[in-house]
């Protein structure tokens, strides 16, 4: 019996692994867990299935004569170290980069960050937060001073109104989504803003089915109505916010009628939503990738922050601006500084005082300029500026936008090094592949979406010669001639905590108890901080920043008349490397589907189950249709888990100018029967 943390979404449910004969024989929920309270979603219940898959990588692989062949660790490490050294000699330190994993532990992410900066001498380190919540980090840091979920999940039970924007919570964060449904059943009003009719939208008191990418118009329309009716929290604005007048005057044109014209949602619905949210004493606002994965992602986050501040909902029980992080440890990977511009705890790399502290701790000179984002590293690889890339536990070939560009770009590297559980699409084109240990095979911590740092515990030995990422990175650092001195997970955590004020009071020992601790937790006696900004915003006053509606980078036209959006399924996770090895999960959704409204389907003689082609300016994909009123006319929707029918062959890689987030949530496509 090993109590640990679920390796799937970022809710951070407690999981008990039943071990028999050296294998994980079963999974049970942790009844005493403060968040999941004895429940799991389908992914959690099936967490044991992928562990023992015979497809697990058990030996390092090296490309020889075009084929990946098993080799001893020594050989794989030597090859990787030599490739890194060659790239740095020929192209400088910034000719190499590291993509860390949002699925591995904090200890692994810290090791990856330290490896990039202290061993390779580059700030080229990033991870998949780039394609999920980079705009949350950027936006909320500007308005509130901290880019994370402000309020705990438990506040769902303490609120008077639930507002969910661009998040399919019952499917992607099921245990949280169910808690929202239960609160709604008890009578708490539920407002959902989503172009798709999600399960929550169908249950909601108000479903604002906005046009794709018109979130800012909708929120500004709500704000206009709030100020027009005097529903704002004047005392809160006076005491705790700044820039109120600038915001108020910027809203002049966003009358509910104008917002209705842009969003397609009736003006009366916008006013209703404003009234319900603003008139409730406390409103818990949550949002997901429907907000962030746009060219205006950061500005949309700012708009939501404006809405919460104007109604006095930041820093209070039952309120908050709550970005729902996607992966089990994407919050942690951000916290660990696996980002090109910050060290652990969001300490800027271009702040000389901060840099000196890390330089003295590690005894090396560190680079001062922010590095490349993961997508910029792909472009640099394509241009020949980046020569060797280490990718840990991510599958950008499937999950990143821009058609076949990602595989082509990675293909131009002198050396692609991948650490993985399985031979993913990205691993298949690698030159060196390291077999990685899974969550059940190592010790460490994950940080959940609500900043809750929890223990991950080793239940079984890794298969074959698989190693934890931090072990691999330490071995590679030694090969590079610069050992990092990482000895064990508790030691890695201690080193990190000493350098990271928000984790400063935590240690593995303190995290033993169920539920762990929420950061910030600066001292060894600090009880942790489930709720941020209670004594005023982290940055001082909450900053209101006027933002205006920016249309999606690509709008439908005669040639590509429909809009494609992407989403996730309850029974799959990311690129499916884990969930697709669980037979029940893999059976649940036939691989690759596109949801289409009956009116659009009829015009194209498409029926449910029929093969269809989805084309955009960037590529095309063949998949099968689901005729459904989950999507409105003019919109089609695809889940992105399936490499054989990946919407990312057609999605747009236009970027949010601030967070460099690609617009995965909307592009123009043509759909036809085939």
């Amino acid at each position: 019996m090993t109590t640990t943390t679920c390796p799937f979404c970022a809710v951070g449910c407690g999981l008990v692994l039943d071990v028999a004969g050296g294998r994980v024989a079963g999974v049970a929920p942790e009844r005493a867990h403060p968040v999941s309270r004895g429940q799991l979603c389908a992914k959690g219940w099936n967490a044991a299935q992928f562990l023992a898959s015979p497809e697990r990588l058990t030996r390092p692989l090296l490309r020889r004569n075009g084929r990946l062949e098993p080799v001893p660790w020594d050989v794989a490490l030597a090859t990787a170290a030599a490739a890194l050294a060659t790239a740095r000699r020929e192209g400088g330190s910034d000719a190499v980069g590291v993509v860390a994993s949002a699925r591995a532990t904090n200890e692994d992410a810290f090791a990856a960050m330290k490896f990039a900066r202290a061993v390779l001498g580059t700030n080229n380190v990033d991870h998949c937060a780039r394609v999920c919540h980079a705009p949350s980090v950027a936006g909320l840091r500007r308005t509130l001073g901290s880019g994370a979920m402000t309020n705990p999940i438990a506040d769902v039970d303490e609120t008077d109104c639930l507002l969910v924007v661009g998040a399919d919570v019952t499917e992607n964060h099921a245990i949280l989504g169910a808690r929202i449904l239960a609160a709604h059943e008890r009578g708490v009003p539920l407002l959902v803003v989503d172009p798709r009719r999600t399960r929550l939208a169908r249950a909601a008191d108000v479903h604002a089915q906005i046009r794709l990418g018109t979130d800012i118009a909708f929120v500004n329309g709500m704000l206009h109505a709030i100020f027009a009716h005097g529903w704002e929290d004047g005392a809160y604005l006076d005491a705790r916010c700044e820039n109120v007048d600038a915001l108020r005057s910027s809203l002049a044109r966003w009358t509910p009628d104008e917002a209705a014209r842009v969003t397609g949602v009736p003006a009366a619905t916008i006013v209703d939503a404003a009234r319900l949210y603003a008139a409730s004493r406390r409103g818990w606002l949550a949002y997901g990738l429907g907000v962030t994965q746009h060219v205006s992602g950061t500005e949309t986050v700012i708009a939501l922050s404006n809405l919460a501040l104007v109604t006095g909902n930041v820093g209070v029980v039952g309120g908050g601006v709550n970005p729902l992080r996607g992966q089990n440890n994407v919050q942690g990977a951000c916290d660990m500084g696996a980002l090109p511009d910050v060290y652990p705890g969001y300490q800027p790399v271009d702040d000389p005082a901060v840099r000196r502290r890390f330089e003295s701790a590690w005894g090396v000179a560190l680079p001062s300029a922010p590095g490349l984002t993961s997508l910029a590293m792909q472009h640099a690889a394509y241009d020949g500026r980046l020569k060797t890339l280490l990718v840990i536990g991510e599958d950008p070939v499937v999950t990143d936008p821009g058609g076949r560009f990602v595989a082509r770009a990675l293909g131009r590297l002198d050396c692609l090094i991948v650490a993985e559980l399985f031979l993913t699409e990205t691993a298949k084109i690698a030159d060196v592949v390291f077999p990685a240990a899974s969550f059940a095979e190592k010790d460490g911590t994950f940080t959940s979406t609500e900043r809750r740092v929890q223990r991950v515990r080793r239940a079984v030995a890794p298969p074959g010669e698989a190693w934890s990422d931090w072990e691999m990175l330490e071995a590679l650092a030694m090969r590079c001639g610069r050992p990092m001195g990482l000895r064990d997970p508790a030691g890695v955590f201690a080193e990190m905590a000493a350098l990271t004020p928000i984790y400063g009071g935590m240690s593995h020992a303190r995290l033993e108890a169920s539920g762990g601790l929420c950061w910030p937790c600066p001292t060894a006696t600090h009880p942790g901080t489930p709720r941020l900004h209670e004594a005023g915003c982290v940055r001082g006053r909450g900053r209101l920043i006027p933002v205006d509606q920016t249309p999606p980078a690509e709008l439908p036209d005669a040639e590509y008349p429909l809009q494609l959006t992407t989403f996730r399924l309850h029974h799959q996770y990311g690129s499916g490397s884990m969930t697709r090895r669980a037979p029940l999960l893999e059976r649940e959704n036939p691989r690759g589907l596109v949801w289409i409204h009956a009116s659009d389907a009829a015009r194209r003689r498409i029926t449910t189950g029929a093969p269809v082609r989805v084309r955009s300016r960037r590529g095309e994909v063949t998949t099968r249709a689901v005729v459904s009123d989950d999507v409105p006319p003019g919109v089609v929707a695809m889940p992105y888990h399936f490499a054989e029918a990946s919407p990312n062959l057609v999605t747009n890689d236009a970027l949010d100018p601030i967070a460099r987030m690609p617009e995965l949530k909307v592009c123009a496509v043509a759909v036809e029967a085939c």
């Binding site: 024989a25 799991l40 959690g44 219940w45 249950a203 649940e588």
Partner: protein
Amino acid sequence: MLESRAPVDRIRRVLALDRRVIEPRPVDGAPAWVATGGEGAFAWSTPAPLAGVKGWLVPLREAVLAWDDRGTMRPVVPHPERIALVGLRACDLAAIAHLDAHFGADPWYRARRAAAFLVGLDCPQACAGGFCLEVDAGPFARAPFDLNLTALPDGRVVVAWGTAAGVAALHGAGVATAPVDHATALLLAELAARAAASFPVRSYVTRGLARMNAAPAGRAIADEEWQALGPRCLACTGCTSLCPTCTCFTVVDQPVGAGGTRARVWDSCLLEGFQREASGHHPAPHPGDRVRRFWYHKLSRDFAGPTGRLGCVGCGRCDVACPGTIGALGVLAALGGER
């Protein structure tokens, strides 16, 4: 009857000589079935763990066939470890009766079942969320146990044996049992009555069960009621995983090199893929249809076991596990007009 609780510990230690003794113990703040080796004193008051004992008798994954590189097939014969499950509550024993009836002819089940020694422990009072009384599965145990224990308030223990193996275990431990005298029999009856009286009155359970079993079979409850419950099912498979009487499995071939294995893996009828046919036709296409099918199987007399008991043993685990609040009591509350 035993004059004190001490002989029970002797029985446990003797069982541990040639079996793995598995008992409920608190682990990280919640009870779990743990291999104790019979060490220490028996934890008389540890509540029933959320995860039951089904996995020992019907593993999550049971390999049944292997083939080699020439395609030659052989059965995978299990070599189950001899175990003693000590402290099984009445609900879990009633569930094992169901498993016995369902899998009675299945050699894999028979092998695992034959290797398991069952020791029951009667519940002196209702547990939170349990409703075994309403479905005739507890709180005092009936078959199938090898031994069953009823703790008396004065420290004595009434021990009942259900099999020759149970008797042999008593003898092996050198435990002398005195016959239950008249006064003790009266005390036992009073304890049973007190245990029964400790259950909260849930009239909706009776009403819900009556509606499930009203004629015409399966049609007494309007479809709209089930369809209203449908969206609350997230298809997480929690209820079916924890349900001690859920037996459905799928069969999965796992190629390994040129050979491979075929295994049964726990399945869940709440999944859309459970009944989807290759043609795309689905006999239970809506979530509400699947919710109905599941609860019909648990709560209808049509699936009552050989003892006449329902497929639901009232353990309440599904109510804990269900994120959508439609575990057994949740559903009965809906059917019984309580929500």
